[in-house]
């Protein structure tokens, strides 16, 4: 009773903790989503006085970068952040045993989502670490002609689904290892490591409504795939990844996988509908919009559109009420156009005008409609200002222009 009261108080404190402070004060920004004012856990922390009334923040349409924690995941994690804090590798007391039980339960939840055996799942700090472990295997290969095929299951920039089952079949017939980075695909499209003949798979927690800082690598046991450990130490995780397994994080990953398995069909149906809505409404109101990526083999939650004659960055800045991105977060610091768009043969000028819209489990129809409305409004406005657009309206073929060198 006291325990539950303490947990409830802690749960309230956790959920009332402030989100990341916006870079600039909210004055002057017309932001839409009304949340209750976050209460600062640390009094007199910043110079800014606490807002009276709801704080507005931008709509979140960037789920490929990261996803919010599902409340069911947080609920599963909380006990392991409060009272059940044992080290899962402690063998001599109940704290260790209960923590280990939770870790193994999580391992089973991850395995069941991808059709694997729990002994084939190793917890890591994220998909990046998992990718590194998988690729390192290539260097540690014994036979000189052994090679590795590594493919993203669902691309994070344009949402294209790779033909994993076909690739798996080819690799297995040629005795070549097959690794896939399934960070954007796990829990969103059905995956089975045995049907698709996958030998290695990287999984990321924070792409599937789980916590950040955790992931897993699936390593096939039959036939055995040998990998070399990146991190050596106490031999945890079958020697493949030493270091104390962070129980709260892996419990979160497990819960996220279980929720994803239950919600996959419902989410997919809803996200497909919202995706159709976004694309149709934008395309029927704006000319010269191109969707990047094969429309046949496409994950609906990741929509990459190029708006001709509009610079992508300026459109992003204009859509300040909506959290969006052009290209992937991992390359967002550089100004180069996306390597993915370049690879699929997009013209330079279209590659610079691309925006990625992410639709996820928590995205609402209202948010999609608002995004569409603002997008149409700003693209029209920016095109009005564009001399290229003017030339096109006058019937000039831009490709025929000989730009002079200065």
């Amino acid at each position: 009773m006291l325990l539950r009261a303490a947990w409830r108080r802690a749960a309230v404190a956790v959920t009332a903790a402030p989100g990341p402070k916006p870079a600039a004060p909210t004055r002057g920004l017309r932001l839409r989503v009304g949340d209750h004012a976050p209460q600062s856990a640390v009094p007199a922390d910043t110079a800014a006085a606490p807002e009276a009334g709801p704080v507005l923040r931008p709509l979140y349409m960037d789920v490929q970068a990261t996803t919010p924690l599902d409340p069911r995941v947080l609920d599963a994690m909380l006990p392991y952040l409060i009272n059940y804090y044992g080290n899962p590798h402690s063998r001599t007391h109940a704290y260790g045993w209960e923590s280990e039980a939770a870790m193994e339960r999580a391992r089973q939840q991850v395995a069941s989502l991808i059709g694997a055996d729990p002994r084939e799942i190793i917890f890591t700090s994220g998909a990046t670490e998992s990718n590194n472990i998988a690729i390192k295997e290539l260097e540690a290969a014994i036979q000189p002609d052994t090679s590795l095929v590594s493919v993203m299951t669902v691309n994070n920039e344009i949402g294209v689904k790779q033909p994993i089952a076909e690739i798996g079949r080819i690799c297995s017939s040629r005795k070549v290892y097959f690794h896939t980075d399934a960070a954007q695909a796990v829990g969103k499209i059905p995956l089975d490591v045995n049907d698709m003949k996958i030998d290695l798979m990287s999984i990321s927690g924070h792409k599937i409504y789980g916590p950040k800082g955790v992931g897993a690598i699936y390593i096939r046991r039959r036939p055995r795939v040998r990998v070399e450990a990146l991190q050596s130490g106490g031999g945890q995780e079958r020697g493949m990844r030493s270091g104390t397994v962070p129980t709260p994080l892996v419990v979160g990953l497990g819960a996220a996988c279980e929720v994803a398995q239950q919600e996959m069909e419902y989410d997919h149906k809803r996200i497909s509908k919202l995706s159709e809505r976004l694309i149709q409404n934008i395309m029927k109101s704006l000319p010269d919009v191109v969707m990047n990526g094969d429309p046949e083999h496409h994950y609906p939650g990741c929509i990459n559109l190029s708006f001709a004659y509009v610079e992508g960055e300026s459109l992003l800045m204009a859509l300040k009420d909506v959290a969006l991105s052009s290209g992937s977060a991992c390359t967002s610091a550089s100004l180069e156009p996306s390597y993915v768009l370049r690879a699929i043969g997009t013209d330079e000028d279209l590659a610079h005008s691309s925006i990625r819209f992410g639709i996820g489990r928590f995205t609402t129809e209202e948010e999609v409609d608002y995004t569409v409305e603002k997008c149409i409004q700003h693209v029209k406005r920016l095109r009005e200002m564009s001399p290229l657009w003017e030339m096109v309206q006058d019937g000039i073929d831009l490709k025929s222009i000989k730009w002079t060198q200065h």
Binding site: A11, P68, P71, Y266, F362
Partner: protein, 70 residues
């Protein structure tokens, strides 16, 4: 425990919607309300009492989660 009656299921439904409206985050609030409505609607024609009880138990667990997290 007696099998869940229609009235009990409706009470549970109302309680879940009420608790869900307490989420301060817009996205969580709208998701919870929408998901609860869709789930109850989808299962409204289930006749097998064992299946009904399983669904009701799951809903009660979810109600607990919403109460703690909202």
């Amino acid at each position: 425990m007696a099998a869940s009656s229609r009235a009990q299921v409706l009470d549970l439904y109302r309680a879940m919607l009420r608790e869900s409206k307490r989420f301060s985050a817009y996205n969580y609030r709208t998701y919870a309300v929408r998901r609860i409505r869709d789930a109850f609607r989808e299962n409204k024609n289930v006749k097998d009492p064992v299946e009904i009880q399983t669904l009701v138990n799951k809903a009660k667990r979810d109600l607990g989660i919403i109460r703690r997290q909202a």
